[in-house]
Amino acid sequence: MAIVRTRALTKVFRQGQAGAVVDVDLESREGEFLVLLGPSGSGKTTLLRMIAGLEEPTSGEIWIGGVLVNDMTPRERRIAMVFQSYALYPHLTVLGNIVFPLKAQKVPRAQREEKAQWAADLLGIGHLLRRRPRELSGGERQRVALARAIVREPTVFLLDEPLSNLDAKLRASARAELELFQRRVGTTMIYVTHDQVEAMAMGDRVVVMNSGRVRQVGTPAEVYDEPADTFVATFLGSPPMNLVANGRATVGFRPEHLLPAGFAAEAGPRLPLSFRLDHEEYLGSERILYGRLEDGRFDGKVVSRVPASYRDSLPAGSTHPFEVVERNLKFFDGETGVRRDPVALV
């Protein structure tokens, strides 16, 4: 187990172009499940590949377990990585794949078999050892990739979107399995994803990235409830946070906080708003209302997420009194989009 630390880590692929990763300072905690979350092109995979040693940083430092690893090969870093494609060796059996890292480490044969058996049992693929990768399902392949990664007991696990090749149904169960797996082995995991649901569900902490920079690091609750800027506010949450201009500030509130007047259970002062419904989506457990705020002070498209227990029918085009509990309003600088202290609404 080890702590991964980066200092001012930067990667520029082509000189003169914007960096893929810019000035990233990051520190994982012992045995933590750290998720790198961001849209495609945000630099999260490049960051992971630099930690793995597959990509050379343009500048900055990478420390693993207190050792500067910049000049070390992937092999010397003692990390394990699960690739998006799983990168199983197609000509080898499952067993051949799992023992490959041990062979490379010159572990004696008897010990190899024992370790492979242990890893296979841990992931429940003991019965597949004689098969070849192309005879396996997506979920089984993923488990083989994990077994191959765990077998030599790495100090750090790096995972690059390992669930993105699975279908939606399998993904949910694979997610739960992966969490369980991490808890059992207790190794630090750095996990790259563009899927905010995965990030929120699995991460001890989430690192939100955009255009090569870290925008916020925090627990899932922190990044969701207290976004550091408008990017984080809109990237997390579906539908995203409503943002409306107010004077020199931008005011944000989550769709689930914009509710019909009197419906919110929360106590505290409220901000009354006038909501004009455009159209509605009924999702069974909840209703998503799309519309506009029609108010002198606030103007703009917003979304409201109301529990299905709210049964009043709202005809399209009608205007209704809605409200937001004031505690749930987030304030951002109107120009930079960075979070700021609450200001008086104008």
């Binding site: 793995a52 040693g53 597959l54 090969t73 992937p74 092999r75 990390i79 394990a80 990585m81 690739f83 998006q84 494609s85 990168a87 060796y89 197609p90 000509h91 490959f100 890292p101 062979k103 490379a104 480490q105 191959r148 030599r152």
Partner: protein, 296 residues
């Protein structure tokens, strides 16, 4: 709908016809003719035909020149194919990655294949000439060989065989390189990266992962290479004419010298038919490989 279908019913065979005519006229007919000659007593200029059974085959098998040629053919093919696979893979590995001037290098690598083999071989004949050899000129200036008795590249049995193998390798290398390059490019980048993360060094990755993954492609390159080499006599014909003392004579060149230049068509045909088992074997392997590729 029916019209279109009826149209397709005759259109397909018609489109195939030129290819079928071509194969029957230029491959099938000569092939049957060779069988016909091989069991007869045909000589260039003879007017009659007498069936003689397997007499020609028996006489070919008793002929030491033929046995020598068969051995040379195997040596020539195996030797050049080993070199082609080694250098083809090295070239493919070099050309796979982007670098400045890659297009130019790729063009130069292809050149020996697209240039007429006769012209290339004549160039090599001068390069390896006993008096005007540039190789010897360089070696003498570097004082690596005695000035008065430099190596006779095409005049000494072993050197002559080595020379024809090297020149033939030079000629067929581009073709295999292109096939192997396609194979190397098809290996996803993730695979060598996974090897690196798993702690495998360059040679372990090469010999235990990437080369085994490439095996089907290597197979294809090898099968084509064997066909091109085992049936070819251009390089040998131009460089050594089978000499010195038949030491570089291969089966196709022996068949040519016996049947055409020696005007014994029957025996020449019998010799060339001995190529058949090898080619049938190779063709069968090729079809099997293709079938496997199709069925995934």
């Amino acid at each position: 709908m029916t019209d279109t279908r009826r149209g397709q019913a005759w259109l397909g065979p018609v489109m195939l016809l030129p290819a079928i005519v071509y194969v029957l006229a230029l491959v099938g007919a000569p092939f049957l003719l060779a069988f016909f000659y091989a069991v007869g007593d045909v000589k260039v200029g003879s007017t009659g035909y007498h069936f003689v059974g397997l007499k020609n085959f028996a006489s070919v098998l008793e002929n030491p020149a033929f046995r020598r040629a068969l051995l040379n053919s195997v040596l020539f093919t195996v030797g050049s194919q080993i070199l082609v696979l080694i250098f083809g893979n090295i070239l493919a590995l070099v050309l796979k990655d982007a670098f400045r001037g890659r297009r130019l290098i790729r063009f130069l690598v292809i050149l020996p294949w697209v240039a007429p083999v006769s012209i290339g071989s004549i160039g090599w004949k001068w390069i390896l000439d006993s008096l005007y050899s540039v190789i010897n000129w360089v070696l003498i200036r570097l004082r690596l060989v005695p000035a008065l008795s430099p190596p006779m590249w095409l005049g000494e049995p072993t050197l002559a065989m080595v020379s024809v193998i090297l020149v033939h390798t030079w000629h067929v290398l581009p073709f295999s390189t292109v096939i192997l390059l396609a194979g190397w490019t098809a290996i996803p980048r993730d695979i060598p990266e996974a090897c690196a993360v798993d702690g495998a060094g360059y040679f372990r990755t090469l010999f235990q992962v990437t080369l085994p993954m490439l095996l089907p492609i290597i197979n294809v390159a090898l099968l084509f290479g064997i066909v091109f080499t085992f049936t070819d006599m251009t390089v040998i014909y131009i460089l050594t004419r089978g000499g010195p003392y038949d030491t570089t004579q291969v089966v196709p060149s022996l068949a040519f010298f016996t049947g055409i230049l020696g005007s014994d068509l029957a025996e020449g045909a019998a010799i060339s038919i001995f190529l058949l088992p090898v080619l049938v074997l190779v063709a069968w392997r090729m079809l099997r490989t293709a079938h496997r590729a199709e069925s995934g």
